[in-house]
């Protein structure tokens, strides 16, 4: 039987009296790639940000392997539940310094071989000593992915990681992510507004509408529904 990597129980978030995520409950099994789709402003990113406690749910619980995330120290939780954002947000310096950033926070200094191995996984072998301001958008997003993987997370949250890239680059990064998730057996929640992308990469799809979970199921079942407005 597949184990549950991450689950939410009736989570809700209110900001200034507005409910932006309403009573959402779902679970993600180990090694699954769950795409979260829905129109702009429907609460996809807000939902994702509650899973590693970048934002706090107003009510409800998030469970990581059965443990309430509120019982885990935020630093430790965010190491275990990594996040790749819409933009790369690399820190000034070299690619290697960015890759080492996460492990350094808990006193581990990755050696050159480990850095090179992570870069090879994102198809950037030989980029370690490059300055981050010399990277293209696609390369920067790959470094951001490798930087997250350097923490060896149990779950990876991806908030529209390809939306700031042009179509060709977006497809390349998307294929890379899907390949890595399969190869490493990662559990991944992938926010996207792109139905075609969700269909290509997801093992399951969660549809959000106006802050609520509208449907969850197999990609063909959710994405082919006639009234879907994404």
């Amino acid at each position: 039987m597949l184990s549950i990597a991450l689950a939410t129980e009736h989570i809700q978030r209110e900001v200034n009296g507005n409910t932006i995520v309403r009573d959402v409950s779902f679970d993600v099994t180990q090694g699954e790639l769950l795409a979260i789709v829905g129109p702009s402003g429907c609460g996809k990113s807000s939902l994702l940000r509650m899973l590693n406690r970048l934002d706090e749910p107003t009510s409800g619980r998030v469970l990581l392997k059965g443990e309430d995330t509120c019982a885990i120290a935020p630093c430790e939780l965010r190491r275990r539940v990594g996040m790749v954002m819409q933009r790369a947000y690399l820190f000034p310096g070299t690619v290697a310094a960015n890759i080492r950033y996460g492990p350094l926070q808990r006193g581990t200094n990755l050696d050159d071989a480990a850095v090179e191995q992570l870069l090879a996984q994102v198809e950037l072998a030989g980029f370690a000593s490059r300055a981050v301001d010399k990277l293209s958008g696609g390369e920067a997003q790959r470094v951001s992915l490798a930087r997250t993987l350097a923490n060896d997370p149990e779950v990876v949250l991806m908030d529209e990681p390809t939306s700031a890239l042009d179509e060709t680059l977006a497809r390349q990064v998307e294929e890379l992510i899907a390949g890595l998730v399969r190869a490493r057996g990662l559990t991944c929640l992938f926010v996207t507004h792109n139905r075609a992308q969700a269909r290509r990469i997801a093992s399951r799809v969660l549809l959000m509408e106006r802050g609520s979970l509208a449907a969850i199921g197999a990609p063909q079942e959710i994405l082919n529904a006639p009234l879907l407005d994404t």
């Binding site: 900001v15 990113s45 934002d55 965010r78 190491r79 954002m85 933009r87 947000y89 820190f91």
Partner: protein
Amino acid sequence: MLLYWIHDRILLGVSQALFAASLALAVALFARTRGVALAGDAAIALGRGISQIILVGLILAVLLKGPWWTGPILLFAMIAAAAKTSSRRAKGFPGALRISLYAIAAGAGSTIFLMALAGVIDHSAASLVPIGSMLIANAMNANALALDRFRAELQSHSGEIESALSLGAAPAVTVAPYLRGALRASLIPPVDNLRSLGIVWIPGIMAGMILSGASPLYASIYQFVVLAMILASSGLTCIVGTHLMQRRAFSPAEQLVPELSAVES
């Protein structure tokens, strides 16, 4: 010319004020020819300025002849007013007034206390208040610069900060580069004042001491003492202010507060 014709000090002062204000108004009227409507604001500011400073002068004339404790009371009032003014720079940031009050009290207050204890500042209210006010005013400006810069840095780098948090970094680590930048920027004026001392400008306190008959050598050394105290009090104010601001920038669960975080979507 005025000194030649007028011998009464009060009348001389009023005449000098009228001359200086006329020049300022003339400049404001000239600015109008360049399309800058400054005359109205300048006239109000000049009127307000002269009224305030005369009122303060009259109050000081009474208080400075009073017992020793009038000095600390005046300085506390000045610290509160400075905190209020300074906190406007960080308007909208949670607890800006309290942060400014604690920072200026810690920076300027402790410098004044230590220097008075060591005998660098004379204990009398006549000495403590003017020198203390200089430290407080400079701490206020430095605090305003530091808070304004730090808040702007946090807002414009919220993505980088949340990325670092997402990698398991502690809040203090994520904002360290922006805190350093804000501290450096806020201390540029007092450091530059010390650097250019005597070369670019002869500050008021030195000029005043020489005019009132003090030894020019002692006046110049004491001017350096005052500027060094300003640097110390401004530096400490900014360190305390940005530290408190950093703590208020995050929730107990190490989340960037909504005022600084990325827009909800």
